[in-house]
């Protein structure tokens, strides 16, 4: 079981070496979406996430593919280029509807945290966010779901029991998903537009892990 590698009490843990981008906004943002299950927007940073010492962002610079071969803006490689500022030039935009981006870690890793930044220049809720990992690049076999807030199963990947969340411009913290040490090579992230529009935007995806032994 991949979960065997999950950090346990007493293990040699340290705060995740996560470097957050600058917040995109200060003060109270106007016109927050209300038709969401997201917790209210907060300017408070989430507590530190602990992972085994030595984890690094194993997605940095790794190849990215996507369901949309005709991007509206940006290039897929930007999703793992380490540039996380909420600037227009960092935003990769995929077309409307359910779309995914996939990262090939080019090897198997024990993953402890996956961190997602959609466009967080405004307080926006991205819909049907699903994060899966697999050893199969086609995601047909051995698919494991780490996060799913597709409440109505619109994507057909199962009913999501996780809540929606704000891509938070007040903190720039992104969405951190506990991967529990799962072993995988490929990461796939789905979304279906946002509370702002039907498009799918990404700034960065990071995956913190250690090479699988």
């Amino acid at each position: 079981m991949a979960d065997d590698a999950a950090p346990k009490a007493g293990a040699d843990l340290a705060p995740l070496p996560l470097i957050l981008p600058e917040p995109a906004m200060r003060g109270t943002p106007p016109n927050l979406p209300t038709n969401t299950t997201a917790e209210p927007l907060s300017a408070k940073l989430p507590p530190a996430f602990f992972a085994p010492k030595g984890v690094t962002n194993v997605a940095l610079g790794k190849p990215v593919s996507a369901s949309d071969t005709n991007l509206i803006s940006g290039e897929l490689r930007q999703i793992t280029d380490g540039k996380k500022g909420a600037f227009e030039e960092n935003v990769v935009t995929l077309r409307r509807g359910l779309q995914w981006v996939q990262i090939d870690l080019q090897g198997e890793f024990n993953l402890y945290a996956i961190v997602l930044w959609h466009d967080f220049s405004a307080p926006v809720v991205y819909r049907d966010v699903i994060v899966q990992v697999s050893d199969d690049p086609a995601f047909k076999n051995g698919v494991r779901t780490l996060f799913n807030n597709d409440l109505k199963n619109s994507a057909g990947l199962g009913v999501g029991t996780d809540r929606e969340y704000f891509d938070n411009p007040l903190t720039g913290a992104g969405k951190l998903i506990d991967a529990k040490g799962i072993r995988a090579r490929y990461i796939r992230c789905y979304s279906r537009g946002s509370s702002a529009n039907a498009l799918n935007n990404y700034i960065e995806v990071e995956a913190y892990g250690l090479p699988a032994s």
């Binding site: 038709n35 409307r96 199963n153 619109s154 009913v159």
Partner: protein, 525 residues
């Protein structure tokens, strides 16, 4: 004027009916309306109404709801709608206008027409006629008692005395605040007598009002009527004592801390110039200004035309005292203004008719009449907008904080919540027997009304220790997080705003939710 009076009055009534009786289901039930509706359920389904001296006001509202329930196509309580209940108060709102005919012989036809027009179109009168609470009934019974008493004073006939007594009894059995109206009437009678004497004017012809015998008879009738209602028509003898005991809790409450404590200008702000949250400006200033004119003329005693001077002064002093009392009371809710607003409307009738009458030559009369009619037209536009229109954001004004009379109003989100919960019941194995738990540290009303079809609904002020139910509606203030528990049995299906700033979370068992979403139409990208 004589031949125009009847068609004119009927036209006003038609306008009033159009504003009061249409689209009564548009606005979700307010907290207090839902409490009243659920109180009625015991009377309707079990013939078991017991007056509660601690809460919920008097018994007239549930008893006068019976005819509306009988007239409903279905007699099943669960099939009743918001409209079923609001027809009761809307009916009393219309009857309040008809009641003006009792005064016409001493008030004048033109004055009656103007007053009836303002009563028909006053946004506050319209809004609260469409609200299933006690206030419209209290104003109606107050007017009935006062007008019948006036007629008795003029004619000396016992029938009017008995009607006035019945009106007084019904006031008592409607709402505890009837004492303010009675006090204002007594003070108005004393002030009118004193003012008339001070001005050295001849005594009026309402002497029968002061007859000890008449007063005693009216009081006996009032007590009989009231105690019949309080005792649930002699089936609940403790209700008689409770009718008096109620003033203990209410006095205690009036001295306590309350979210309804507001500054002295609370009512005037709403009547004269109200603008909130970027909404439009609302004003019933026309009625207030004309009432001021009417008040001045009544006290001066000249230029009143057909209006009986004593009657005009009684209305003027009554309105002034009642306005003062409600202004000084720290506890304020906007519907409480209806009592003195009705007095203002009568005075506005005197003022409007006077302004037209005093204008010379005839063309100026016409200009004044048209200007006043245009003002009345503006009132009707405001009333229609408050009850039927939506703002730029698509929010109905009848629910919006932009409306001066929508006070702690339930938001339309409750309809969205109920669509989901009803949809869940359709797929749940137990249907409407599915267990629902509602948890809220503060008021969860009007949820009991909207969940009335569910047979197993429990209410808690905190998170209970027992295992979670398939459906849970939980105040966000409790930060329940049922979906974040490790067993992952429930998901959070959405936030719902019950009242402005009061949010609830809907938790549903994952299995039930999975069945439910299969019934939903596919989502569009």
């Amino acid at each position: 004027m004589k031949r125009w009076f009847v068609p004119g009055f009927l036209a006003v009534l038609a306008l009033a009916a159009a504003l009061r009786l249409t689209q009564l289901q548009l606005r979700p039930l307010h907290n207090d309306e839902a409490v009243n509706a659920i109180k009625f359920r015991a009377l309707w389904t079990e013939n078991n109404y017991k007056y509660d001296p601690n809460e919920f006001h008097g018994p007239t509202l549930p008893y006068f709801t019976l005819p509306a329930a009988w007239l409903n196509p279905s007699h099943n309580f669960n099939d009743f709608s918001e409209a079923t209940f609001r027809r009761v108060t809307a009916g009393f709102g219309l009857a309040l206008i008809v009641l003006l005919l009792l005064l016409t012989p001493d008030f004048g036809r033109v004055e009656t027409l103007w007053a009836s027009l303002f009563a028909a179109l006053s946004p506050a009168m319209v809004y609260y006629s469409r609200d299933y609470i006690h206030e419209t009934l209290l104003v109606f019974f107050t007017a009935l008692a006062a007008m019948a008493w006036w007629r008795h004073g003029k004619s000396g006939r016992f029938g009017w005395c008995a009607l006035a007594g019945a009106g007084l009894g019904l006031m008592w059995a409607t709402k505890e605040t009837f004492v303010f109206a009675v006090l204002s009437m007594a003070l108005a009678a004393a002030c009118t007598a004193g003012w008339t004497r001070l001005r050295g004017e001849p005594c009026s012809d309402w002497s029968a009002c002061w007859s000890f015998k008449s007063m005693a008879a009216a009081l006996v009738i009032a007590a009989t009527v009231a105690l019949l209602f309080f005792s649930s028509f002699l089936t609940n003898p403790t209700g008689v004592a409770d009718a008096f005991k109620t003033y203990g809790p209410w006095l205690h409450r009036a001295q306590g801390v309350s979210p309804h404590v507001h500054p002295w200008n609370f009512y005037f702000e709403r009547l004269l110039f109200y603008r909130a949250n970027g909404g439009p400006v609302w004003s019933e200033g026309l009625i207030v200004v004309l009432a001021t004119v009417g008040f001045g003329v009544a006290l001066a005693g000249g230029g009143l035309g057909p209006v009986n001077v004593a009657l005009a002064r009684l209305i003027a002093f009554y309105t002034a005292w009642l306005t003062l009392i409600y202004t000084l009371l720290p506890y304020k809710t906007p519907w409480c203004m209806l009592g003195f607003l009705h007095g203002m409307i009568l005075l506005a009738g005197v003022g409007a008719a006077g302004l037209v009458r005093w204008c010379q030559p005839p063309w100026l009369k016409a200009v004044m009449a048209v200007a006043l009619a245009a003002g009345a037209g503006n009132l009707s536009c405001q009333a229609a907008r408050q009850n039927f229109a939506v703002d730029k954001g698509g929010v109905p004004y009848c629910d919006s904080a932009k409306n001066p009379y929508a006070y702690s109003q339930t938001t339309p989100d409750i309809f969205r919540l109920m669509r989901t919960v009803d949809g869940l019941a359709q797929v749940a194995p137990a249907g409407y027997g599915t267990v629902i738990e509602v948890m809220a540290p503060d008021s969860y009303w009007p949820l009991p009304w909207y969940l009335r079809r569910f047979q197993h609904t429990g209410y808690w002020d905190k998170i209970p220790a027992q295992p979670p139910a398939p459906i849970m509606i939980v105040s966000s203030a409790l930060q329940a997080g049922f979906d974040q528990r490790p067993e992952k049995t429930h998901l959070m299906a959405g936030y719902f705003e019950l009242r402005p700033g009061v949010f609830f979370e809907l938790y549903v068992s994952v299995d039930l939710w999975a069945k439910y979403i299969k019934t939903l139409p596919p989502e569009k990208d």
